[in-house]
Symmetry: C2
Subunit: 197 residues, 2 copies
DNA sequence: TCTTGAACTGAACGGATGTTCAGTTATGGT
DNA sequence: ACCATAACTGAACATCCGTTCAGTTCAAGA
């Protein structure tokens, strides 16, 4: 047996990445073997190397594309005209984006230490750009008196940690609807930076 | 060669756990081999099995003792008399405790998925008890009108995520001293739950 | 000083690991 | 209908994995 009937790199490639994402998120990068990924796709392990040079690059590509998608989506988002409005928009965007991609989020936050040093630096740079986007909002609010924050960098890190934490406990169909969650986080975030609501 | 000169289970045992904690935190449970741990201790791999029945239990014991220490330390902490005071105490305690044990914190949050189902349930229960401690404070503040929170459970999760996030970016000797960080987080947490400061 | 057991070695177990590659089959353009 | 090549197999590579155990050496109590 060799080539499968109906096989095509444009369908197998994405399926490889999807299988890897699911398995990495569930069991962790180091705990997942190339053979497991291949089995999920319905292919032998060797065939994976048509779609990635190695396992490490497979992980890196998943993280990289996630972060690029995140940055692009945020840049495409309509910007509010006040710092309050922009922060509220950020909170809702962040929660919505992250809840829609639990696997990618998990991987991007948990598998950093499995990146090669060079790949790590690349990913860190992207992440830093996203954190900067929030800090910029906080600085604007600080400047015009809407917010009262002793340290905008610390506040950025604190808010992002708070918001991203939602992926750890939120379950679709649970006690709270997504819109409620967004509203509550929005309220907390605005209050935390000293913007009355 | 067999027994080492000066060897004793009371010194080797803790060294095994310390080496495992360091390596698990740095590279992840699945990526660390028993031989690597043994090498760090200065011993052969087989000798580790005098101190743990298997690798899985070694991980579980590290997590379990961390959480038990956390709960015991919090119970030993002096309780404030107002909800504001209790929340402020919790924030400072949480940050202090977590910054003092970066390795254990990392492991307890990142390696949950490498626990066997039974061990996972045990760890989750301990974690839940700690979350409940915070929620109880929030409920008290909600009841006497000090706090204004739509959902105390959500607020608990949000605050813990925000506070624990400090371990991801704080560096000893960095821009901010630990006391400053505690003060700022304290301020943000109180504001976030609607307690004027 | 002798003896018992604690502490450890070193080799071995079956099996899994990431990756390569010669060979095989389906596909799509001519 | 044919053919180049894209897609994949299956076996092999050296190396590592967690765990066990018979044998060896040291510590310490009698």
């Amino acid at each position: 047996m060799a080539r499968k009937t109906g096989s095509h790199s444009q369908t197998t490639g994405p399926r490889v990445r999807a299988a890897a994402a699911t398995l990495f998120a569930r069991h962790g990068f180091a705990a997942v073997s190339m053979r497991q990924i291949a089995a999920e796709v319905g292919v032998q392990a060797g065939a994976l190397y048509l779609y990635t040079p190695d396992k490490q690059t497979l992980l890196f590509d998943l993280m990289q594309s996630h972060l690029e998608e995140l940055l692009a989506a945020w840049q495409a988002e309509p910007k509010g005209d006040t710092p309050q409005g922009r922060l509220a928009a950020f909170v809702r965007f962040h929660i919505g984006f992250h809840l829609a991609r639990p696997e990618a989020v998990f991987i991007a936050y948990m598998e950093l230490r499995n990146l090669s040093p060079e790949n790590f630096r690349t990913i860190e740079a992207s992440r830093h750009r996203y954190e900067d986007a929030l800090e910029e909002i906080l600085r604007a609010g600080q400047a015009d008196g809407s917010f009262h924050i002793p340290d905008t960098r610390l506040a950025s890190m604190a808010l992002i940690a708070m918001l991203t934490g939602v992926t750890n406990w939120y379950r679709e169909g649970g006690r709270l609807a997504r819109a409620e969650v967004e509203a509550i986080y929005c309220d907390m975030a605005l209050k935390a930076v000293g913007a009355g609501v």
